[in-house]
Amino acid sequence: MLHNLSIGELGRSLTAGEISSVELARHFLGRIERLNPALNAVITLTADHALNEAAAADRRRAAGDRAPLLGIPLIHKDIFCTDGVRTSCGSRMLDNFVAPYDATVVTRLKDAGAVMLGKANMDEFAMGSSNETSFYGPVKNPWDLSKVPGGSSGGSAAAAAARLAAYTTGTDTGGSIRQPAALTGVTGVKPTYGRVSRFGMIAFASSLDQAGVLARSAADAAIVLQAMAGFDPQDSTSIDTPVPDYSAALDQPLAGLKIGLLREFFEGLEARNSALIHDALKVYRSLGAQTVDVSLPHLPLSVPTYYVVAPAECSSNLSRFDGVRFGYRCKEPRDLLDLYKRSRGEGFGAEVKRRIMTGTYVLSAGYFDAYYLKAQKVRRLITDDFRAAFTQVDLLIGPTTPTPAFAIGAKIDDPITMYLNDIYTIGANLAGLPGLSLPCGFVDGLPMGLQLIGPHFSESKLLNAAHRFQTATDWHHRSPPGYEQ
């Protein structure tokens, strides 16, 4: 079945003339029509746009173009500005916003020949770990429709798992690619901070946000990341360092690879979840890797650090949404203050308002030193812990999440319980490190993810380690029941 083929296989099929890009686009559009209503993963469909792009890809191929992503369909998280197409960020605030330009990520994938099928649902303004805060309603996990797919890239993850596209894009500020990838059984990559441009990616927390990919294998993710990564002069935090050939490094043997088991990640992990990770470690040892115990003593402070830094940055970034120049405006504003307050009060959902207010509080006079400055210092301690660990090991390993997917509605009323879902992923964002989640088994029929974290710009090694695991296991080939056909 077309939707179960890898990006490489699809490329070969297209080149061999077995299918056209237009037929491939129609195939995935048909799946979205049939399967998306139950999932609510896609909130804006761009069918005509997709068919035009597919036709253009067919013409490029006929002219001899063999770019690896040419004619391959994707879905973009609705946080990326897409020229002429609504970009909502999962919020009422931008429900009427048609982006007037493309994000760099969108441009790069377009240039590579990608065919955009639509925009994926997400937690509002990327704030959430369950895709329950979206203005457009929750996304369902294709493995069990009563469960969350994770968040904030929940729509992207569900779409990748349900094979509604060959791959999807996401963003990760505190785990928002890796955690939903783990909960839906796909491979999700968050690159090093600065590796992929943030231009045109609606900002949540500027020192933490990174764009990345969700795909069905590390090999597929490598191809996509290749096209997304690289210096962009339009992003002032973009790092100007060459992008290696990620696909070329995939098959390197793992003999001699030193993998650090983070003690803090295994403390308190439930027995069945812990057993899956330990089984995965056996696979790594059989592939020639060595496992070493390491400790990052300040890591337990990563969640409180994040919940000072991220809200502070979001309170600044979201101040641009004021009802004046674009986005939601309240009806009949009495004066300017009322315009601001009610446009924002009505346009934003509860979690977004909670984080804006948390951020405003920690940045306010009298609290700045105790909270924000303190958090930035603890951030350095956490980053130094990672740096020290990487002098002993090449990569760090652990679970991506403490448990498999939880029920929709189970945690939404308690912010702290929800925040603790990101306990394993947040550290990498604070330290700007690349991280990857890959499927490693099931608990009660629900997927669990293994997380790999590497030093800055070690994406090649992460993808290599993930790919080698995927040649020795088949978790990543599993399809949610009902989505195989």
């Binding site: 007037p100 000072v308 004046v324 009495r334 004066d335 203050l337 804006i356 350095r380 301690l381 604070l430």
Partner: protein, 96 residues
Amino acid sequence: MNLTRQDVEKIAHLARLSITEQEMPVYVTSLSSIVNFVDDLSRAQTDAVQPMAHPLDGQHQRLRADVVSESDHREKYQANAPAVQAGLYVVPRVIE
């Protein structure tokens, strides 16, 4: 440390957010629990630790040559505006 209703009202005003009477107690409770949660940070020993604003050390704001690189897209960008007149954004009267 628990926040009071006045604290939340003040924060909401700074953030230019309207909070309804109904929503107020929920925000007082949840913001208090978040603030209590992040108070854990005070446990960390951070004397002589430099604060970190950027995850990659040694990064500076990149500069570019002072030459014009953008062109006028006002009409395109204002297509999303709630109220526009003669290229200006229309808002309720600011100056009495």
